[in-house]
């Protein structure tokens, strides 16, 4: 066994390697995104890449601190951490400062700190903690309700901060519930309902309802035709039809105008390339102009000359796409997917249920950010401003994602010690 050889022999160097690679890629591309001739020294703390270097050093210190802390600390204090960040989420609504329309920021020593980023980690911890409790089974309604509440309470508070993007991220934890035994219908609904919603906006409703009824009829025809099944099919049919009719109303009355525009842009119904469609169009131009091998480091014209908005934060993938082309973009996508798969495999090798569920939580949150962010820059997702983990510029998100990951690495390194 390896327990004698110390912490650095037990940590999973593959994941740490992937993490370091992503952080390095991130810094390199932030440098490229904000590069200009007057500020080109790599250590320049007036520039974003200089600041990001400080963030990275701080993140490394945080990571090492976590690796030193007793691995049981996080499961023991999960509820306390969760409570702390819930409190901060509420406090920030009243005392935080507003950045880009959302009131989720504390200003500490000149740097903005966004509690919502850390709340994801806290929620993943508590969810794992709760699901690992002996008498909890997701099949029980009570357990499901509590699990849902654990996820939804911080999500709702973040939503109230007008940070819709971060709020939606919490829903990613449904993957953890699924692994814990939640019926597949619910995660499926998370995928099917948005698709149905898009169809509802694109197709005439009567046609869509007819299709749904046909599908329902098909299910009934091939089912065992027991009363319970029949009622279920009827209920689901009515539910989806009701959803179809409510989508229009939701889009037109509940969403805010800029969110509504983003939906229209995604559906190709808004071709105003100078208005709501500008970001996605410029993003596609930057990525698309990269070609197979890219324009080369610091040679990207679209990002360098600010045609792409938010190019060091939410749209950082444009810089990668433009300067490194299909080759570089693919490498990045593969690195990410490799990280997620590795995390799942690591989670599965945990003996402790807490560690396993937490590992799933880490993978879910990172995966969700990755999907939404890159999907957005590629015009496959609506514009939802959430960062690309480890790559996007910003201290809060880098630290939060680092803490999120290293808690799991810490758990994993002591997986043999725990029963």
């Amino acid at each position: 066994m390896r327990e004698d050889k110390g912490i650095f022999y037990r940590i999973d160097w593959v994941v740490v390697g992937l993490y370091l690679a992503l952080v390095f890629i991130g810094w390199l591309n932030i440098y490229a995104a904000v590069y200009n001739e007057t500020h080109n020294h790599i250590v320049d703390f007036t520039q974003k890449y200089g600041k990001q270097m400080i963030f990275i050093i701080a993140a490394m210190l945080l990571a090492m601190g976590i690796l030193i802390i007793d691995s049981r600390f996080f499961s023991q204090f999960a509820w306390f951490i969760y409570g702390f960040f819930l409190f901060m989420l509420v406090v920030v609504i009243f005392s935080g400062r507003e950045v880009a329309g959302s009131k989720g920021w504390f200003a500490i020593a000149g740097f903005g700190i966004q509690p919502a980023e850390f709340a994801k980690m806290a929620t993943a911890l508590v969810l794992a903690k709760y699901l690992s409790t002996l008498d909890v089974s997701i099949a029980k309604l009570r357990s499901l309700a509590i699990s849902s509440a654990i996820i939804l309470v911080p999500a709702v508070i973040v939503f109230l901060q007008h940070d819709t993007g971060s709020a939606i991220v919490f829903l990613a934890l449904v993957i953890v519930l699924y692994r814990a035994g939640l019926t597949g219908f619910i995660p499926l609904a998370f995928i099917v309902l948005p698709v149905l919603g898009i169809l509802a906006l694109l197709l005439p409703k009567l046609i869509l309802v007819a299709i749904l009824l046909l599908v329902a009829g098909g299910f009934y025809f091939f089912s065992n035709r027991k009363l319970r099944t029949t009622l279920l099919i009827i209920a689901i049919s009515l539910g989806t039809i009701g959803f179809v009719f409510s989508v229009d109303y939701s889009v037109n009355h509940i969403l805010e105008p800029h969110q509504r525009n983003r939906i229209h842009v995604l559906l190709g119904q808004d071709v105003d390339l100078k208005g709501a469609g500008y970001n996605v169009n410029q993003s596609l131009i930057a990525i698309g102009s990269g070609g197979a091998f890219g324009k080369g480091f610091l040679q990207g014209t679209q990002t360098k000359y600010n045609f792409v908005p938010e190019q060091s934060t939410d749209f950082i993938f444009c810089t990668i796409g433009e300067e490194w082309g299909f080759l570089g973009s693919s490498v990045l996508v593969i690195l990410y997917v490799g990280l997620f798969v590795r995390l799942i495999l690591m989670a599965e090798r945990q003996r402790s249920r807490f560690s396993r569920f937490y590992g799933y939580g880490v993978a879910s949150i990172l995966f969700f950010h990755f999907t939404i962010n890159i999907g957005m820059t590629l015009g496959l997702m609506p514009v939802i401003g959430i960062p690309l983990p480890y790559i996007s510029y910003g201290g809060s998100s880098l630290w939060a994602f680092t803490v999120l990951l290293f808690i799991f690495i810490r758990q994993d390194s002591y997986r043999y010690d725990l029963v």
Binding site: I287, F307, V333, I344, E348, Y360, I374
Partner: protein
């Protein structure tokens, strides 16, 4: 119990892989399959700034500069970059009112806040020098330089032609041209466009999202430098051209002078004309419209190349040449003149009183109508041909070999063919083969359907002085320093008339000057051959025509003069031709009285002397 859900990891991993794959496919599509994003990216940041080369200059045959370029400056504004302008100071600098300043700035802003608009076009060089020093005070304003065509002498407008922005059809036809490029539209500017224009260069500049210039693209790796246009050395004689235009003041018509031994055109005067500077730069549009609307003077019409006149009696020279070639005429052939040539229907082609009978030389000297009607009749009725038609076709071929009835192919666009009628024309008019020599007898004295341009007339004089050959007349003798020239202008073209037949005609023409219809053209120190012509036309009074060459031996200049509606050839055209020859060969004019009378003669809206009014039906000449 949760182990039963362990298999779900495959579903979850599968889902992760699916999304990753979806992104890879999308990236492949966006980055590799479609190229519209590359184009859009270039449109975003790259501005192609054309480097316009200086257009080639034009010199005259003595090295005098005729056409050159002058820098012109446009004051350009980018409204977005204008900051707290000292409006009053700028207004003073360019001399406009403050309200005008505000409205121009607003107009520019309406066009685009980020793109440059012309604020004041073609600032003079003086105010540019002044402005340039102060320009840093006015952010957002800058000066763009262009070149304007300038002409040293306000003459030869039709020959030079003009340049203007390339039109949409041209841009569609020739990929070299882009919107805003200049192109030669007429004259040598058009025919030598590809030589004069040089080669455009292209600088690629990078602009950021605020339209700020961020320098050259990839350190100028893809920039191309412009290559200046090549200078043209023209055969024009600037003094002669100027003098010709002076003589043609207030007259409609033209003067063309050619150096017979080379085919080089010495001058082309088409009157009325205009100052070529009027059609340069931004005043062109306004002036062009005005010139185009002038239906009295029709100044844009190049009569030297585009007007056809019946050659009148000058055509008798052609009769003399073709008649000898066809074997129906010899220097000794004598015809009597009973005061005209009877047409058989009681009418006759009249002739003026003169000693009779005459031989060929005498007939040329006194321009006997009867004699040349007989010559023409004998050509067409020549028994060695099977039919009138065949004889006519042979006549036509030989006439056309003298450079008549077909474009000469000179290096100025717009030349007309002229007209030597075809047998088919008479078939249509009189019925197939239902025409005889008598039907078309007026051709013999250069009337009827014959149409000849002044350029062709001058060339005909050159052909005679050369005894049967010519170079295609041309106005450009050398391209650049290399003396290179289109081979078409270096190739001798021979007529179908044997050189030996020219001697008698040249002698006759010399006698025209020494003791014939053209004595008025006589210059004591210069031997000269000439022929008068008086062309009937449906537009009013007869056209006065004269062709001449001098000296008779080793000829230096052949000239044609047409003065519209001016009367006898000897009255206006002959003296003008004579003065042109004197000017060219002697460089000074001794006959000041004659010169003054010619310059002051106003045949467009002035009164003419009583003695020149009232012409007979067929004219003595």
């Amino acid at each position: 119990m949760e182990r039963i859900y362990a298999d779900r990891k495959y579903i979850i991993i599968g889902f992760f892989l699916l999304i990753g794959l979806l992104f890879l496919v999308r990236l492949f599509y966006v980055q590799i399959l479609v190229d519209k994003y590359i184009l859009s990216a270039n449109n975003n940041v790259l501005r192609y700034v054309t480097q316009y080369p200086a257009r080639g200059l034009v010199f005259d045959r003595n090295g005098k500069l005729l056409v050159y370029n002058e820098a012109a400056y446009d004051l350009v504004v980018i409204p977005q970059q204008v900051k707290n302008p000292d409006t009053m100071a700028l207004c003073r600098l360019i001399g406009i009112e403050k309200t005008e300043f505000i409205s121009r700035l607003q107009k520019a802003r309406n066009y685009s806040p980020y793109r440059p608009s012309i604020f004041e076009s073609q600032i003079t060089r003086d105010s540019y020098g002044f402005l340039e020093e102060k320009l840093f005070l006015f952010p957002g304003f800058f000066v763009q330089s262009r070149t304007l065509r300038k002409y040293t002498y306000p003459v030869a407008a039709h020959t030079f032609g003009y340049i203007g922005e390339a039109g949409p059809e041209m841009i569609a036809k020739n990929p070299y041209y882009r919107s805003g490029d200049y192109i030669g539209i007429s004259g040598i500017e058009k025919s030598y466009e590809e030589i004069l224009r040089g080669k455009k260069g292209m600088k690629i500049r990078v602009f950021d999202v605020m339209n700020r210039d961020k320098g050259s693209f990839r350190d100028g790796r893809y920039d191309t430098t412009s290559v200046a246009g090549i200078d043209l050395y023209s055969s024009l004689d600037a003094d002669l051209q100027q003098y010709g235009e002076l003589l043609m003041t207030n007259k409609k018509g033209s003067i063309v002078a050619i150096e017979p031994q080379t085919g080089e055109i010495l001058c082309i005067v088409s009157s009325p004309s205009y100052d070529p500077n009027l059609l340069a730069g931004n005043i062109r549009k306004k002036n062009y419209t005005r010139l185009l609307a002038d239906s009295v003077y029709v100044p844009l019409f190049n009569r030297a190349l585009m007007a056809m006149y019946p050659p009148g009696s000058t055509f008798k020279l052609v009769d003399a040449l073709v008649g000898q070639q066809e074997g129906v005429l010899s220097p000794d052939t004598r015809y009597g003149c009973p005061g005209g040539f009877p047409l058989g229907n009681g009418k006759k082609v009249g002739c003026h009183p003169h000693p009779s009978p005459t031989d060929l030389m005498g007939a040329i000297q006194i321009s006997c109508n009867t004699y040349f009607c007989r010559v023409f009749k004998s050509i067409i009725d020549n028994k060695s041909y099977l039919s009138t038609r065949q004889a006519f076709e042979s006549w036509r071929k030989e006439v056309m070999s003298l450079g008549l009835g077909k474009k000469l192919g000179i290096d100025i666009p717009g030349e007309l063919n002229g007209n030597i009628p075809t047998p088919g024309y008479y078939d249509r008019y009189h019925g197939k083969n239902r025409w005889r020599s008598m039907t078309i007898i007026s051709l013999g004295i250069g009337q009827g359907e014959i149409g000849i341009t002044p350029m062709q007339l001058a060339n005909m004089a050159a052909v005679i002085s050369n005894r049967g050959w010519f170079y295609t007349p041309h106005v450009i003798k050398a391209i650049g320093k290399s003396d290179s020239m289109n081979v078409a202008y270096n190739t001798k073209r021979h007529t179908l008339v044997d050189p030996k037949y020219y001697d008698i005609v040249i002698e006759g023409m010399a006698n025209v000057i020494t003791g014939g219809t053209g004595v008025i053209a006589k210059i004591d120190s210069i031997t000269m051959g000439g022929k008068t012509g008086t062309a009937q036309n449906p537009h009013g009074k007869n056209h006065s025509i004269f062709i001449a060459f001098a000296p008779v031996q080793n000829t230096k200049i052949a000239v044609s003069v047409v003065v519209e509606n001016a009367g006898y050839g000897a009255t206006w055209a002959a003296p003008i031709a004579s003065l042109m020859i004197e000017k060219y060969l002697n460089r000074t004019i001794k006959r000041k009285d004659l010169e003054e009378r010619m310059i002051n003669g106003n045949l467009i809206n002035g009164k003419q002397p009583e003695s020149e009014r009232g012409q007979g039906n067929i004219l003595p000449d």
